[in-house]
Symmetry: C2
Subunit: 425 residues, 2 copies
């Protein structure tokens, strides 16, 4: 029954039952954690062959001794393979260290403090530097901006990606807007895939925006499908080539959720001039990336086709976890008006929206009975969810049983908070 | 015979012979390279067991799954082992990625732009920020300063380390001096080991200098001895503890010249407050370092004792290369007044001083016959060797035969340049 149709007595009865269920859960001394998008041990084991795969042969295809210094842009075969994930050629791809977050930080540091095309082009020459932040989004993106003093402007997320009418209006009007964050496929946390039209319009922002505008195209879930029929993502590079804006987009990715989280390789693709500028920037920070680990990854993953097979094995492990959460939400909350959610076709998250003003309360209720959820607000710039409704659920890391137990506890917390709110109204 | 004692005719005769020898070398179409301090393939092979050493067991001693995210400061066993190289306890040690250069850059970025103890303490709040640069020194240290707009003040190197009378006078007088670079054991490139008195005086700089002064103690060659009787380095940490200045020193190191160059691990040690500040700084840049590679290194190197055995194997490979260069210098140049050099007891370099004004010319002469040397001036801030005399020889990477051929060609270039200078005088 829909919450709006419940009478006072029905609410009171339901609350009484829920309170009992909630107290019963407390007795279980749960210790559940759905906070972060981490692969589970079974997923990690899919890549256990990485260590030892070189069998003593540390030479790259071109004879490079990967055990020695050098090669800032990465091994040719790594640039080719990981470029192909982003739809970019090897020569437009640079391989970084174990974290794409480090590359993102370096790219923004370069554009902000040094200038993509020399000191005169540094964003920091202006008093104000702003970024568009489609939200809900990824908290670590927002943390980079906040840390570097870049003002964040929240932009609504639609099922098709960022609301492009708003985005285009903003960048046309305000020349202090220098960039935008995007997670274009299986967005963190909504799971949406940017539509073809959105991709085309984002590629066109460089023509509307201030000089040296940058889209940070964090394609963290480029190949992370849960179902074979998951919607594809249009090529931002091809759209940029059509519109002459390749300088305005840095694509990013990593193998953190393909092989080992934090022990894989990261990669960036952009125009040749941007890659050269990034490479020079990095030359003051490192003598080169870990080429041995690049070689391991190329030998292990081999090709884009083989990588898809590997990702299907990941999907087989985590799909039941997603389906368990979604089945519980559907069974317990569909038609109740107590929340909305999307069923993602890939990625690492399920984004749940409570009734306005309840996200913090639901997270608190869950925490009090041993169920850790991502802090409410974390998916918004400055941790400020204006409607206090978004909660990010990350079902990949816990065991299947724990995911199921968490989902059951979660819906009780949602119902309890919703009905208490109604009772108090 | 000493060059000062040669008459005009002797000079002419010698020049004629040298010119012939030089032209003969040109006919050999040499392709030799003594430019960078890279380990040779035989050295790298000492660590080939690294890949595969985990044998499927990716768990750290405390049960941490190294394949997953987290652990900004590094694995406990890695902090303990690599801390011991620097003489620091595990809790004062942080493990970074594959390059200590990245840690150095992060430390300076933190102190310059964010402040070691919050924004009010950032060096960048002052108009001028200067660093003391003992020279000859390491070009990549100087490049970091130049890149970040930090003014460099050259300080002379003595056999005991930096000239501390000058250093102490400068930091006492000029509060815009915020730090100093040091390579304290087997200094790059002179090979000197800082004396106990110098270490103690450097530890005391924090009491003379401006607030939040930092010594970057790049102990890159901490365990890189060529001989068993190589002079030890006094503990900067103990000296700092005696003087209450642990906040003023960041020790740094890496396994780049222990295992694989560019595919090893880096580490930093400092006061607990500094390590906490660095860790927070890194939290915006990475979700954590590559713990799998840390675990590989701990399993492979095991202990400080075992590491010393491993380093002795390195020494057995490169000692003959150093000795070949030194023997040629001794045989051909001792007593001639055409150059001075030290015989290092460890490290990666031999620093050679020509007569004033000849380093560029010697490097050019060598280059013209296919012998690449480190560019003259590279060992000084801004590439400016005031006497144009220092040349850094790096004999580790080429084969024994190539090192010997290079040394022979080098001394001919030195003699040719020296006698031409005398003839023109």
């Amino acid at each position: 029954m829909h919450i709006d149709e419940l009478g006072a007595e029905q609410v009171a009865t339901a609350l009484s039952q829920l309170q009992q269920q909630y107290e019963a859960l407390r007795q279980n001394n749960l210790s559940l954690d759905l906070t972060r998008g981490k692969p589970g041990p079974e997923q990690l084991a899919l890549s256990d062959a990485l260590d030892g795969i070189l069998e003593g042969d540390y030479r790259a295809a071109d004879g490079t001794d990967t055990r020695n210094y050098g090669g800032l842009e990465g091994l040719p075969e790594a640039r080719a393979l990981f470029g192909s994930i982003l739809g970019a050629p090897a020569e437009e791809t640079l391989i970084g260290g174990n974290a794409s977050l480090t590359l993102m930080n370096n790219i923004i540091d370069l554009a902000l403090n040094e200038g993509l095309r020399g000191p005169d082009t540094a964003w920091g020459n202006s008093d104000d530097v702003k970024f568009l932040c489609p939200a809900p989004g990824y908290d670590r993106h927002f943390a980079i901006c906040e840390h570097l003093g870049i003002e964040m402007i929240t932009v609504p997320m639609l099922d098709t990606g960022p609301d492009m009418d708003i985005v285009e209006a903003l960048v046309s009007e305000d020349s202090s807007i220098r960039g935008m964050w995007c997670v274009p496929r299986f967005a963190n946390p909504t799971g949406c895939v940017y539509s073809d039209a959105t991709v085309e319009r984002i590629a066109g922002l460089g023509k509307l925006a201030a000089a040296h505008f940058l889209v940070l195209w964090d394609n963290a879930y480029a190949v992370h499908t849960l179902y074979e029929d998951a919607p594809p993502l249009a090529s931002i590079r091809e759209a940029c080539l059509r519109q002459g804006t390749l300088d305005c987009v840095f694509q990013l990715g990593s193998t953190s959720k393909i092989t080992f989280a934090g022990a894989g390789v990261s990669f960036a693709a952009s125009s040749p001039d941007n890659i050269a500028a990034l490479s020079r920037h990095l030359s003051f920070r490192t003598i080169g990336p870990d080429k041995v680990n690049q070689l391991r990854h190329v030998r292990f993953l081999q090709s884009l086709d083989n990588l898809q097979v590997h990702m299907a094995a990941h999907a087989d492990i985590i799909r039941p976890k997603f389906e368990a959460v979604l089945a519980t939400l559907e069974r317990e909350l569909a038609g109740t008006g107590m929340g909305t959610w999307l069923a993602p076709r890939g990625g690492y998250f399920i984004a749940f929206d409570t009734r306005p003003g309840l996200a913090r309360e639901v997270v608190r209720l869950a925490s009090d009975i041993g169920v850790k959820l991502t802090p409410a607000g974390a998916t918004f710039p400055y941790g400020d969810d204006p409607n206090d409704c978004n909660i990010r659920l990350a079902p990949t890391f816990p065991s299947q049983a724990d995911v199921e137990a968490t989902a059951e506890a979660f819906v009780i917390c949602v119902k309890l908070a919703s009905l208490r709110q109604k009772a108090a109204a």
